[in-house]
Amino acid sequence: MAGFILKRLLQAIFVVLVVTLIVAFAIRLSGDPAIMLTGAGSITEQDLQNIRNALGLNRPFLVQYLGFLHGIVVGDFGRSFMGGTPVSALIAKALPATLLLAFTSLIASILLSVPLGILAAVNRGRWPDQLVRILSLVGLSFPNFWLAIMLVLFFSIQLGVLPPSGMEGPASFVMPALTMAIILTATNVRLVRTAMLETLSQQYIMVARSKGLKDWVVLYKHALRNSAIPLVTYIGLQFGGLIGSIVIVERVFNWPGMGTLAFDAISGRDYPVLQGTITVLALFIVLINLLVDIAYGLIDPRIRTE
């Protein structure tokens, strides 16, 4: 198991290096940050040169990249072009809000999709299965921003029970998390259903039944753990997409998280903030996938002893 984790860890470090290289490089591709920042035309070459010097943009790329890497290690992503706040301080404020949202919706989705997926698999072809599949299709068909707006219209404007935006107390948490959870559940429930159908057709499930075990023990002890591998894989992959949806959902609900931060940074051409947020989010996705790999080993002994 130790060798297995070490291998995955080395792979993760390599991925991080590639990701940071792309982030550092890609931002230069969009043009000279000094020009983009000031708006071309109204400024002299000397002014531009000064800005480049001030921002360290005329150092060789490799030096800039190494400086950037060093910054990641010590947690210094520079200062925002807007107001000069350290980027790390902005991220420190936004990250918890986003993680809270991401994990709550993920956990809510797992708690919903596992029993529903199992219910559908056990009743394959009968009405509970049909119902779950239709609901999942409905959930898949909603664009996330539309779903978010509909929830606001219903709960905040029609009923007036939930605050439409911001992060003030637990009530403001419900709608963003619900939006994310619905989107995630719609795909996860199908995945659980398919994985369970595959597992339930295995011989060892019949063996477990022939032992006299209760149905729920067979399903939740014997079958679920075997179905967990595809589910865990998918959740790892889903995390990238999840971050993408979060940017939009945070925007709609004006949730002060990483998505909002990144969005504002893009609109304001605030490169240090953008670079910082993207790097931190990318690190999280890599970390989650590392955890997924380790989870494999814990779930399935065949992978552990490979």
Partner: protein, 628 residues
């Protein structure tokens, strides 16, 4: 009804009485009755064999007894299953409430399944899975349950039981897993054990061990056994009474000796006549084709004729010469990708095949027999050694010659369904080699050839337009044979080609292969683990063990005068379809060793000596000989 039975049998009443049991799958028009009005009794401590071929309903019957058919979409439509767990107590399992039934499952009635590779849950330890039954039915705490589990593992003769408790199923061989399964089934001292083809997926020497264990433990614990099988040899070895099933119905029921000595139903007679019996060719130097009895419109009918297979021509040079063929695969790598272990699949194997000859390559799993077949078909590059076809070295051939070789050597696989593309008609599949090797270019000529080939293998020309799923397993194998013949090959490699077929179908396919050999002077490399089939079909036999040929010679020499201890062991392990024969107290123990070795630890290549003309045997170390 139950009162009525009780009156009929006041003393020595059966442990289980199945009465008019029917099981149906699906509903409405698509409904299918898999089991029709089956009735039989199981006496305490006795073994009842339920025999039948695929589709006979025997497995469904075995599941229906504990109402496990509920989970496979089946419904018990009529009948009752009366179980007598203790004196005076009767219970109809068909109508018993769920909680009562669960208390019986795994406790009073336990089950062993066919596939040991998939019948244990891969994510739980062995100890865990055995202990689960004990905590459930006997309320033991975790520690006591584990120590009982350990004792059970010892009971099924698994060495090192204590460490096995913490092992996971994938770390065990098939034979070991099946022992674990038996330990699990016997955990609560069940009164009835239902064993559904428990040894079918195992190697023959492992099968012999498992059958011995079941028989011994049954005597020791007084367990009654329902043994579901298709193998008449196993029936003869295990059963007291036999129920023969055919197309969902019971066609015959009798004590085992009577079934074998005087079968009454035509189907039973056909089934028994098709069973290849080890020793049936004793005293005959050449293979012999014999008629097969089939049931047509309910009446038995003989098809085929008797013919001595004198096709092998030893005056001409051999068509295939294999010399010191070695094939190794890298497994096990270090962190930095250095190879630490290799599978020594084939080690310095030499043999030749003559025109019109059938050479059987026999061995158990991991013996390397299939690797040789795949190497000849150029699917695997050999590590070293030479292969000459018609005198020409395969290694020095140019790509065009190699393609030509693929035309002349054809392959028939074990699983006829998996080896046919489900999205193409069989006509397309059969025509493919003709097109690929540009043997004919006119569409009409190709169609004619396909029809001709279908007729040669006993199918109809109009079958060409059908898809694989429209055929039965036996017909599909005929299609595969037609495809193999399409390119006019000289040599056909048949890799376990008849192993997955029902015996009656198997006998017909074997006859077909022999007939084609006679017509076309074909040579066969017949790769199999089934000694009885080998005896019937082959001119010469090579016995493989751990990548090496340990004995090679004429079929008569190897079967009637086996020299190597492994050949003897293999022959002794085959169950003989004759209940009157004394059950030899065989001592076949031990697993088949692994062919995986650390780099640098080369296996010892045995020297071969000629014991009689054409009969070569590997020289064994004295110590080994004594142990085996």
């Amino acid at each position: 009804m139950s009162d009525h039975i009780a009156k009929l049998a006041p003393v020595g009443e059966p442990l289980l009485s199945v009465r008019s049991l029917s099981v149906e799958f699906g509903r409405g028009e698509g409904a299918f009755r898999a089991v029709k009005n089956i009735s039989f009794d199981v006496q305490p401590g006795k073994t009842l064999a339920v025999v039948g071929e695929s589709g006979s309903g025997k497995s469904v019957t075995s599941l229906a007894i504990m109402r496990l058919t509920d989970y496979t979409g089946g419904r018990i439509t009529t009948g009752e299953v009366i179980f007598r767990p203790s004196k005076g107590e009767t219970l109809d399992l068909v109508t018993a409430p769920d909680n009562r039934l669960r208390a019986i499952r795994g406790n009073d009635i336990a089950m062993i399944f066919q596939e040991p590779m998939t019948s244990l849950n891969p994510v739980f330890t062995i100890g865990n899975q055995i202990a689960e039954t004990l905590t459930l039915h006997e309320g033991l705490n975790a520690r006591d349950a584990l120590s009982r589990a350990k004792a059970l593992l010892q009971k099924v003769r698994l060495p090192d039981a204590a460490t096995l408790l913490d092992r996971y199923p994938h770390q065990l061989s098939g034979g070991m897993r099946q022992r674990v399964m038996i330990a699990m089934a016997l955990a609560c001292n069940p009164k009835l054990l239902i064993a559904d083809e428990p040894t079918t997926a195992l190697d023959v020497t492992i099968q012999a061990q498992i059958l011995n264990i079941i028989r011994d433990l049954q005597q020791e614990m007084g367990t009654a056994v329902i043994f579901i099988t298709h193998d008449m040899g196993v029936v003869a070895e295990m059963a007291d009474d036999v129920v023969v099933m055919w197309k969902g119905e019971k066609v015959e029921e009798a004590p085992v000796r009577q079934i074998f000595a005087a079968p009454e139903h035509p189907y039973t007679r056909a089934l028994l006549s098709a069973v290849p019996r080890l020793g049936s060719m004793t005293g005959q130097p050449l293979p012999k084709r014999t008629p097969v009895m089939v049931i047509e419109d309910g009446a038995p009918k003989q098809i085929g004729d008797t013919h001595i297979q004198d096709t092998a021509d030893y005056t001409r040079p051999p068509i295939l010469e294999v010399e010191k063929l070695t094939t190794r695969f890298d497994v096990g790598k270090t962190f930095f990708g250095r190879v630490t272990h290799k599978v020594h699949a084939v080690e310095e194997v030499s043999f030749e095949i003559f025109p019109g000859e059938t050479l059987a390559l026999v061995g158990e799993s991991g013996s390397g027999k299939s690797t040789i077949g795949r190497t000849l078909q150029q699917l695997i590059e050999p590590t070293s050694g030479t292969v000459r076809f018609n005198g020409r070295d395969m290694g020095s051939m140019n790509p065009a010659d190699r393609r030509k070789l693929k035309q002349e050597i054809q392959y028939i696989f074990q699983d006829p369904f998996a080896s046919l593309d489900p999205r193409h008609t069989i006509g397309f599949s059969i025509a493919e080699p003709i097109v690929v090797h540009s043997l004919l270019d006119d569409r009409k000529a190709i169609d004619r050839r396909v029809q001709e080939l279908l007729e040669q293998v006993g199918l109809l020309p109009q079958h060409a337009k059908r898809y694989p799923h429209e055929f039965s397993g036996g017909q599909r194998q005929r299609v595969c044979i037609a495809r193999a013949l399409a390119s006019n090959p000289k040599l056909i490699i048949a890799d376990e080609s008849v192993s997955a077929l029902d015996v009656s179908i198997q006998a017909q396919i074997v006859n077909l292969l022999m007939e084609l050999q006679q017509q076309k002077q074909l040579s066969y490399l017949f790769i199999t683990h089934d000694m009885a089939v080998v005896e019937k079909i082959s001119h010469r036999v090579a016995v493989m063990y751990l990548g090496q040929i340990v004995e090679i010679g004429t079929r008569q020499a190897v079967f009637e005068n086996p020299q190597h201890s492994y050949t003897r062991k293999l022959l002794a392990a085959v169950p003989i379809a004759d209940p009157a024969r004394e059950r030899a107290k065989r001592l076949i123990e031990g697993e088949i060793p692994s062919a995986v070795r650390a780099v640098g630890q080369e296996p010892l290549v045995h020297r071969i000596r000629e014991v009689e003309p054409g009969h070569w045997v590997a020289i064994e170390a004295e110590a080994l000989r004594g142990a085996a």
